[in-house]
């Protein structure tokens, strides 16, 4: 029998239903693979007992012919999602051994549909980062290596553990969160598919908050179809999140394979940034050719405020983070470090509990929101955000169905290579993904090819609000043309 961990989620689903193997066998195969892959540091908590119990229950449903949409499918969950009675830390020391007494809505949807939880996945502390190096549990390592080299590479971030686990076949799919690119960039770095849905498509309830007006949950998977299946389950209205949208969830899987003939695809000319790597530019052209060959019309479009997206993001996101992270004070949960009075207890707790990147962002956020600076920084950034969103709206109003752009400015970099001296160096990684979060739009990253070094490169498709189905149709065309990519096993 083929290694069960190498199946796509859709194949595993169909074969489970045909009883070719059991959910217990599928879970066991993954648990074994996880044990052998600890060098990747993808999982920060393995939950084999829970996985076995859930698989057992799934087998009973399968035997009774009562299978739910994800019955018995083994998944990993980013450590940003609160999981009931299972340690949830956002990979920060300040959450210590936090045991939620509730389940996030998105993960609850997956279990409602019969999925099996394998464990919690590594991420940058509080999802702040683009390399997974800021995790309190140490960096997650990419299963990919440059050709003929063994330098450890980052899987991207912040959802680095999710991306590494899916690419290394340590789960069939995984959840992620994307505030500025945290699903799309790691998906691109590891040669898999990741989608950030429209803001409001998935409930944020029970997800550790980073920047509330930007955060969105979404899936990682090895194929476009698998990502579509997962999003169908994760999405949906939730009265517990007032920004969650009350719109029916389409069957996204039905969009995979749908014709894209006659669709108008925009190539935003401002994304052709100075010093862009030739191989990225070539891949972008190739992507446009693939879509054109499938009947799409390719047009050049303009998003004039693109270059202001990153600076606006690095005001809005830290401002919201400084407010959201005020709750970690050593009183209600998590770490407490004593002090001579309550104020010193707060200060000592927060000094010991937050890592350097998180501290930096809280301080920037505190500064831009402080008296006398609010108008100059925060208010101005929110006005620029309106302009960025308007750019997209004008392009869509002109009849463009989606935009095609690179997902990242380069392939994956080495652990320790970036951001050591200047934090801004790391921030520049998100140049193609951040505008999409600022505008609240859906964006999907799909593998397009390999770099000269043999590393995956991703293409990004940006859709209209709630145009996820269109993105799956388009991404499928790219996947068909580009093929799929898996790393050589070295771990």
């Amino acid at each position: 029998m083929t290694d069960l961990t190498s199946l796509t989620l859709a194949d595993a689903r169909d074969r489970l239903r045909r009883r070719e193997f059991s959910a217990a066998e599928l879970a066991e195969a993954h648990l074994t693979a996880i044990e052998k892959a600890r060098a990747l540091n993808a999982y920060v908590l393995e939950t084999p007992d829970r996985a076995r119990a859930m698989a057992h229950a799934a087998d009973a449903r399968l035997a009774a012919g009562d299978a739910r949409p994800l019955e018995g499918l083994a998944l990993g969950v980013k450590d940003m999602f609160a999981t009931k009675d299972v340690r949830t830390t956002a990979c920060s020391r300040i959450l210590d051994n936090f045991l939620p007494t509730y389940e996030s809505t998105v993960s609850a949807h997956l279990w409602r549909d019969g999925a099996v939880m394998l464990g919690k996945l590594n991420n940058d502390e509080f999802a702040m980062g683009s390399s997974n190096e800021s995790s309190f549990f140490g960096p997650a390592i990419s299963p990919w290596r440059r050709r003929a080299a063994n330098t450890p590479l980052v899987p991207g971030g912040s959802s680095g553990g999710s991306a590494a686990a899916v690419a290394a076949q340590l789960c069939l799919g995984a959840t992620g969160t994307d505030t500025g690119g945290s699903i799309r960039q790691p998906a691109a770095f590891t040669g898999i598919v990741g989608i950030k849905p429209t803001y409001g498509r998935c409930s944020r309830w029970g997800i550790v908050a980073f920047a509330s007006s930007l955060d969105q949950a979404g899936p990682f998977a090895r194929t476009v179809r698998d990502a579509a299946i997962l999003l169908t389950s994760m999405a949906g209205h939730d009265p517990k999140d007032t920004t969650s949208v009350d719109l029916p969830v389409p069957d996204y899987e039905a969009a995979v394979g749908r014709s894209i003939k006659g669709m108008k695809i925009g190539l935003p000319k401002e994304y052709r940034v100075e010093g862009m790597a030739t191989e990225i530019e070539k891949l972008w052209e190739l992507g446009a050719q693939w879509l054109a060959a499938a009947g799409a019309e390719i047009v050049t479009v303009s998003l004039p405020h693109t270059k202001y997206a990153l600076p606006a993001y690095y005001i809005v996101a830290p401002a919201e983070a400084s407010s959201n992270l005020a709750r970690y004070d050593g009183v209600r949960y998590g770490l407490r470090v004593p002090g001579r009075d309550v104020a010193h207890m707060y200060q000592n707790t927060r000094a010991a509990g937050f890592g350097k990147e998180v501290r930096r962002r809280i301080m920037i956020g505190t500064y831009v929101l402080s008296a006398g600076y609010y108008d100059a920084y925060y208010l101005r950034a929110q006005k620029v955000r309106t302009l960025i969103k308007r750019d997209f709206e004008q392009v869509f109003a002109a009849g463009v169905d989606a935009m095609l752009a690179p997902a990242t400015p380069s392939a994956a970099f080495a652990v320790g290579e970036k951001g050591g001296r200047d934090p801004v160096e790391m921030y520049l990684n998100d140049v193609f993904t951040v505008p999409v979060n600022l505008a609240g739009l859906p964006g999907i990253s799909v593998p397009g090819g390999l770099s000269a070094d043999g590393l995956p490169l991703g293409l990004q498709l940006i859709g209209r609000p709630f145009g996820e189905g269109t993105l799956f149709s388009l991404a499928n065309v790219i996947e068909q043309a580009a093929g799929r990519f898996s790393p050589e096993r070295w771990w």
Binding site: G200, P311, Q347, R360, K383
Partner: protein, 95 residues
């Protein structure tokens, strides 16, 4: 705009994060690098532009102002670093 060491101390105080004296200079450099980066926004003409307040245009949802949850003190205190008789315990505030 750039920050001086006193401003770094003030921000740390506002953020309730203890910062050691020997970290101030390094932090100042990092914060100034970020502030220099976001300075580009001053080039944008935002005259007459409304700040974004809602990502997806939608009516603010409301619900009746009634108690919908509660009576779960054990669950609420489960993760508290210090709790006594259904209360969070903090260091003494008033002498």
């Amino acid at each position: 705009m750039s920050v001086d060491p006193d401003t770094v101390r003030r921000i740390a105080q506002l953020a309730r994060i203890a910062v050691a004296e020997d970290e101030i200079e390094h932090l100042r450099g990092e914060l100034n690098a970020i502030l220099a980066f976001v300075e580009q926004l001053s080039q944008v003409d935002v005259e007459g532009v409304e700040p974004m307040t809602s990502v997806i245009p939608m009516e603010m949802k409301k619900r009746p102002d009634i108690v919908t949850d509660g009576g779960i003190p054990d669950a609420i205190l489960k993760n508290a670093p210090a709790a006594e008789e259904h209360f969070f315990v903090v260091p003494k505030v008033v002498e």
